[in-house]
């Protein structure tokens, strides 16, 4: 019994380490790539590993959505636009205004450091130390999240669908070719 439990927790730690390394390495590579297509592929790695992390949090529905929406749709859109706007950068980081931006990054780094310090300092708090799947029935399954979405959060759900519709229409309007000759068919 102990053997099985111990090997299970070992396996959990190893899986977590691999996935979070994938997330962070993918993220770092994304912001340092010169070639936008490589950056997109690194971000796909980040999102795939992130979906794995979601699955270890027993958020199976969200894990699949993460791959379906981000890796499968949003990043394909990115790659499509990268191919249209394909320009290699000579200097990934421009000199202009570098001091202000570096100061911004330093400030963000300081905030990150402080919050990370706080989180690791207070890691014995019940909220931060919790490590087991909650004893809620069907936690994170499609039916449970779906029931919540369509019962308690119906209005936000409808609002977000309206937002998506607006985004679609806006996207089409922004990128539509305005034809010079009005004699041709309006599409």
């Amino acid at each position: 019994m102990n053997l099985a439990a111990h090997s299970a927790s070992m396996a959990e730690t190893i899986v977590f380490a691999i996935l979070s390394a994938g997330v962070l390495v993918g993220g770092l590579l994304t912001v340092t790539r010169r070639n936008p297509v490589s950056a997109v592929m690194c971000l796909v790695l980040t999102f795939a590993a992130l979906a794995g992390l979601f699955a270890t949090l027993s958020a199976h529905f969200l894990a699949v959505l993460q791959i379906l929406v981000y890796a499968g749709a949003v990043m394909v859109l990115f790659i499509f636009v990268v191919m249209m706007v394909n320009r290699e950068e000579s200097t990934p980081i421009a000199r202009q205004g570098l001091v202000t931006r570096a100061a911004g990054v330093l400030a963000a780094g300081y905030v990150f450091y402080r919050v990370a310090w706080l989180v690791s300092h207070e890691r014995t708090l019940p909220l931060l130390a919790a490590s087991a799947t909650p004893p809620v029935k069907d936690f994170g399954t499609v039916s449970a999240v779906g029931a919540l979405l369509f019962a308690d959060f119906l209005f936000p759900f409808e609002a977000i669908s309206l937002l998506l519709l607006l985004a679609v229409v806006g996207g089409v309007m922004l990128t539509r070719h305005v034809r010079e000759d009005h004699s041709s068919r309006v599409s």
Binding site: V31, A39, V40, L50, F78, A94, P126, A167, L174, T175
Partner: protein
């Protein structure tokens, strides 16, 4: 794994995304960094959701994803139309409103 480990990963990813937004000048990579930040937020929501045993966090993560998709669609449409008129994808060269 305990929740704080997930929170640390989420924080680190958010910081990487923030650095990308601040430092990079290619508008596509800036947009990708914003997506990264949103995804980091999703991770934090989901890990707290597990710690609290409350699935409302999943619903919020769902909304964040929908929002990110909408943002990407409109953002990329703007990139394409800017590229059509100015032939550039660098944020430093899109400064027509600068006094």
């Amino acid at each position: 794994m305990p929740t704080y480990a997930y929170i640390l990963v989420s924080l680190a990813l958010f910081f990487v995304g923030a650095a990308g937004v601040l430092l990079r000048r290619n508008v596509l990579i800036v947009l990708m960094s914003v997506e990264m930040q949103l995804a980091a937020g999703t991770l934090a929501l989901l890990s707290f959701s597990r710690a609290l045993g409350d699935q409302k966090g999943h619903v919020f993560a769902f909304f964040v994803m929908a929002l990110a998709a909408a943002e990407a669609a409109v953002g990329l449409a703007i990139v394409v139309s800017v590229f059509r008129t100015r032939r550039t994808a660098s944020l430093d060269e899109v400064n027509g409103l600068k006094g």
